[in-house]
Structures are given as structure tokens and as C-alpha cells.
């Protein structure tokens, strides 16, 4: 298991995100620290747990009005905390890319998908148009699209959801980033397609040694797909463990979540309802696994 490598790709220390509202400042992320190595780290939580804000804060893509502070955020040797918007442009897309839930909203509707992938390459690398197109075709083949030439010339509305998400993966991987942040990348897909897309992501990330931050609400999926799992509750990490050991989780919140999942083999059995303990909000955070 490549769980914690010697040199983590991303180290985040004491990240906080807040929104000012009419009833005072609402803290969405309340001081979390974690590392992502050359492995798949799942961030699981319910809505409002701050998991999406964590992913966005790393790329400084927070919604307007939100503010974030961090003690330290290192990508390899680079300190990201305190970079201005211009310097961030050199990081975003080139060294860290982001895959969002619905490819429909992330692809430019009036541009052929192949050109979008080629464009993503040319933004970050000096290359001729022909060379970039060549790379885009290779990348389409790498995400297991059978006829890359045909798909290259399609417009986004002509591709299915699963194909669209594979195209997004191709586009995000072509600048050869060190880290990928995937925010619910398969939630909009049907179950059978979902597994294919995950398998492709799995293969590329593993063979190319890319770090993957996989943000999801689906405990089952994360525990079977990722190497390591962080459970977020009310803006903090309440539990971290290797994904394979999630079913022996210790924190009552994690255990409660697992117990409230309906299972096929349990049939009509009444589901356990999660009792939230107010002390979970502020108890000490477990140390790095």
C-alpha cells in the first residue's frame, strides 16, 4: 500500500473557509490538515460538511464572498498560501486540475471536444497546433475511447454523460498535473457507466503517479475505490483511516453513517438513524494517520 509516501504531493495545514451572512460568519471549513501522496484520498461527508469547499479552496476557486485562511499549503516545493491570482493561474490546470460533477457544464458547448483538449495542452505547453491535436488523440485513446478520431470532432452535446466525463478526464490529465481534485465526478452518471469511468481514472492515476483527491458523499464507493479516507463533519476531519479498514471505523459519526446505509441483503430491516452528538463539532481532531 502506497498510503503515506515519503514526499507528499500536497500538504495542507489548518485550512479555514468562512462565509459572512446576515446572522454572522458561517464557517464551512474549520481548521483541517491533511496530506495527499501518490495515492487516492477520498474525502467523504454529508452536504454542508465542507468537503467541496476544501477542494475549491486549494485552487482558490471559492464562491464570491467566501474567505479562506491557511497556515501552510504546499504543492511539492511550492507554497500556495499567499499566491496572487496571476501566480495561481500557473498552478491551476497545469499542476493541479479539477474534475467537476457534470461535464455538461464544464465543456465549452460551441467547440469540438478534441480542440478543447488540445487547447488545454497548448495553454500550458509550447506546442504547435498539429502536435497538440496529436496529443489530444493519444489522450482520448488513453481514456479508452475506441474511435478517438470520430470523438475528436464531436461537439459536447453529441456525447453521452459517461463519454463526456471521460473527455473531461482527458482534458484534465493532458497538462500532466501532479494532483487531481475530483468533486463528485461520477454522481451524475448511471451506476454501470460510473464504474467504467472510475476504472479509467484509477488506471491513469496509478500508472502516472498522480495524486487524487476524491470528494464524494458515497461511503460505499469511496471505501472500495480510494486508498485512504478522510471523514468530514461540520467543517472538520473527524476520522482518517485506510479505505479497506473503513468498516472498522472508530468515530461514532462514521459508524452511524455506515449503519444508516440500506443494504441489499438486509431487505426491509429498519435502518439505524444517526444520532448527532453536539460534542462532535468541537472534540480534538485525530492526528495524521
Amino acid at each position: 500500500m502506497s498510503g503515506t509516501t515519503k514526499s507528499p504531493i500536497l500538504t495542507v495545514e489548518d485550512l479555514r473557509v468562512g462565509f459572512p451572512g446576515p446572522r454572522g460568519l458561517v464557517e464551512a471549513v474549520r481548521g483541517i490538515s491533511f496530506e495527499v501522496g501518490r495515492n487516492k484520498v477520498g474525502i467523504v461527508g454529508e452536504s454542508g460538511s465542507g468537503k467541496s469547499m476544501t477542494g475549491r479552496a486549494i485552487l482558490n476557486l471559492l464562491p464570491s464572498g467566501a474567505t479562506s485562511t491557511v497556515k501552510s499549503m504546499r504543492l511539492g516545493e511550492t507554497e500556495l498560501a499567499g499566491l496572487n491570482e496571476n501566480e495561481m493561474l500557473g498552478i491551476r490546470g497545469k499542476r493541479v486540475s479539477m474534475i467537476l460533477q457534470d461535464p455538461k457544464y464544464s465543456l465549452n458547448p460551441v467547440m469540438r471536444v478534441g480542440h478543447q483538449i488540445a487547447e488545454a495542452f497548448r495553454v500550458h505547453h509550447r506546442a504547435s497546433r498539429a502536435e497538440a491535436n496529436e496529443r489530444a488523440l493519444e489522450m482520448l485513446a488513453a481514456v479508452r475511447i475506441r474511435d478517438p478520431k470520430r470523438v475528436f470532432a464531436l461537439y459536447p452535446h453529441e456525447v453521452s454523460g459517461g463519454m463526456g466525463q471521460r473527455i473531461m478526464i482527458a482534458m484534465m490529465l493532458i497538462p500532466e498535473p501532479e494532483l487531481i481534485i475530483a468533486d463528485e465526478p461520477t454522481s451524475a452518471l448511471d451506476v454501470t457507466v460510473r464504474l467504467q469511468v472510475l476504472a479509467i481514472l484509477d488506471e491513469l492515476v496509478t500508472t502516472r503517479g498522480i495524486g487524487l483527491m476524491f470528494i464524494s458523499h458515497d461511503l460505499n464507493l469511496v471505501s472500495t475505490f480510494c486508498d485512504e479516507v478522510l471523514i468530514m463533519y461540520a467543517g472538520r476531519i473527524v476520522e482518517r483511516c485506510p479505505a479497506a479498514d473503513l468498516h472498522q471505523a472508530k468515530h461514532p459519526y462514521t459508524r452511524g453513517l455506515l449503519a444508516s446505509l440500506p443494504r441489499l441483503e438486509d431487505g426491509h430491516k429498519r435502518l439505524r438513524v444517526l444520532e448527532r452528538d453536539p460534542s462532535w463539532r468541537n472534540e480534538p481532531i485525530p492526528a495524521e494517520a
Partner: protein, 256 residues
């Protein structure tokens, strides 16, 4: 209670016609929960909308409570059959308070005693009086879905159509809503049709289910068959395997 035979729904005309539901027949006994399962675009939601009277372009026969119903329904039908929608963020009017939302069906049907009835139904879905004058945006997803269920229950229907009632909710909230739906169904002997893509949810609520793919009904299963993964068609087997989570060995990469 509900009998559907040779139901067919097609959208568009001429060459662009697409058949959403193709010759589907099933019947649901009283006081049971029937699941319609499949991936997006398989026609399961379309069938539910035909049953609820929201989709009026269909052919075939639908019999509900012993009576053959047409595309247009009367007030008596809506009093007997109600619906809960998938997205609790979209199914409650954003500018109406919970009180207004719950009173509306009573006003439409000219039923007296609105105040106490709203209180009773709020209690029934586990929301107190303190939620009565809130707007939907002041409620969490689970609370909203409880309000939506309360709205469906306030007319005391005998049939409930459930369109993915928990798919927009967090798992812990999903458990609460599933338990609530089960309690109400048992207590009032409701006949329910549940549309879902989530097999564990279907296993939790349904007595029987139909698996659909591309508008066709592939097979019908009892809940015991589902629990022990005894399915005949390969498609159903694939759905069951996929619901267990990610398994590298199961996935063929080169399917396009």
C-alpha cells in the same frame, strides 16, 4: 389496486419519434410497495407520471382501484392518489411557507378544519409546530422532504407515487425518510409505487419490483430474490453487482 397493461409512451412524431415506454404491463396488489428500477432514461419516471396523471400522452390501459382511468383525472382521483417528488429543493414553492404549502391541497379540495389537520400531519412526519411558518429555504433537505411527504398525506390518499424520494438526501437523512415512509405505509395500508435507481433503497421499501431498460420491462422480482441476488437477466445481475461499489475486476474498460 393498480393494473397497467400494454402501456406505451412515445415522444415526438414521425422519424424523430422516440419510444420512452414500450408495451409495459404489471399489476400491484393493495397495500404493497412496488419498485420501478433502472438507469436514467429507461422510462421508469415516465410510467410514474402516466400513473399520476402528469403525462397525458400514452396508450394502453391503466386501471386504478378497479376503475379504468383516462389521461385526464378528476378531483376524486387526486384525493386518492398523491405523489412525492425527487428533489425536495424544487418541489416546494419557494415563496410559500410550510403552512401555505400544506393548506393548499385542503383549499383545492374544499376540506374544512385546515389548522388542526396541518398540525396533525406535521406531527405525523415528525416535524413540530415550530416549522409551520418557515420558508423552504430555511429547512434542510430532509425537513423539506418531510414537508413534501406531509403534503401528499394531508389528503389521506390510498396510493402514493414516490419518484426517487431519497436520492437527493444525505445517507443519514435518507435512513430517516425511508423509515418514515415505511411506518406510514404500514400504518395506513398505502399502496406505493417507488421509482429508484438505488437497489438497496428498493430492497428496503418494496415487496416486488420491475427492472426496466430502454423502455422495456426486463423482469419482475420479489424482494427475496433481490436480497439474495437471484436475478435471471444479465442486466439485472450487472445492476446488482454495481450497487456493491467499485471493483476493478468487474469492469470491462473498453465498452464505448
Amino acid at each position: 389496486m393498480i393494473e397497467v397493461s400494454h402501456l406505451r409512451v412515445a415522444f415526438g412524431a414521425g422519424e424523430n419519434q422516440s419510444v420512452a415506454v414500450d408495451d409495459v404491463s404489471f399489476s400491484i396488489p393493495e397495500a404493497t410497495v412496488y419498485g420501478l428500477v433502472g438507469e436514467s432514461g429507461c422510462g421508469k419516471t415516465t410510467i410514474l407520471r402516466c400513473l399520476a396523471g402528469l403525462n397525458r400522452q400514452w396508450s394502453g390501459t391503466i386501471r386504478i382501484a378497479g376503475k379504468t382511468v383516462g389521461p385526464v383525472r378528476d378531483l376524486a382521483f387526486y384525493r386518492m392518489a398523491q405523489m412525492v417528488f425527487q428533489d425536495p429543493y424544487g418541489s416546494l414553492h419557494p415563496r410559500h411557507t410550510v403552512n401555505t404549502i400544506l393548506s393548499e391541497p385542503l383549499v383545492v379540495h374544499g376540506i374544512a378544519g385546515i389548522g388542526p389537520r396541518v398540525s396533525r400531519v406535521l406531527a405525523q412526519v415528525g416535524l413540530g409546530e415550530s416549522y409551520r411558518y418557515r420558508y423552504p429555504h430555511q429547512l434542510s433537505g430532509g425537513q423539506r422532504q418531510r414537508v413534501a411527504i406531509a403534503r401528499a398525506l394531508i389528503l389521506e390518499p390510498r396510493i402514493l407515487f414516490l419518484d426517487e424520494p431519497t436520492s437527493a438526501l444525505d445517507v443519514s437523512v435518507q435512513a430517516e425518510v425511508l423509515n418514515l415512509l415505511r411506518d406510514i405505509q404500514v400504518e395506513q395500508g398505502l399502496t406505493c409505487v417507488l421509482v429508484s435507481h438505488d437497489l438497496p433503497v428498493v430492497a428496503n421499501l418494496c415487496n416486488r419490483l420491475a427492472v426496466m431498460n430502454q423502455g422495456k420491462l426486463i423482469e419482475e422480482l420479489g424482494v427475496a430474490d433481490l436480497m439474495s441476488a437471484r436475478a435471471h437477466s444479465g442486466y439485472t445481475q450487472r445492476l446488482i453487482a454495481a450497487s456493491a461499489g467499485y471493483d476493478r475486476t468487474l469492469v470491462g474498460l473498453d465498452v464505448d
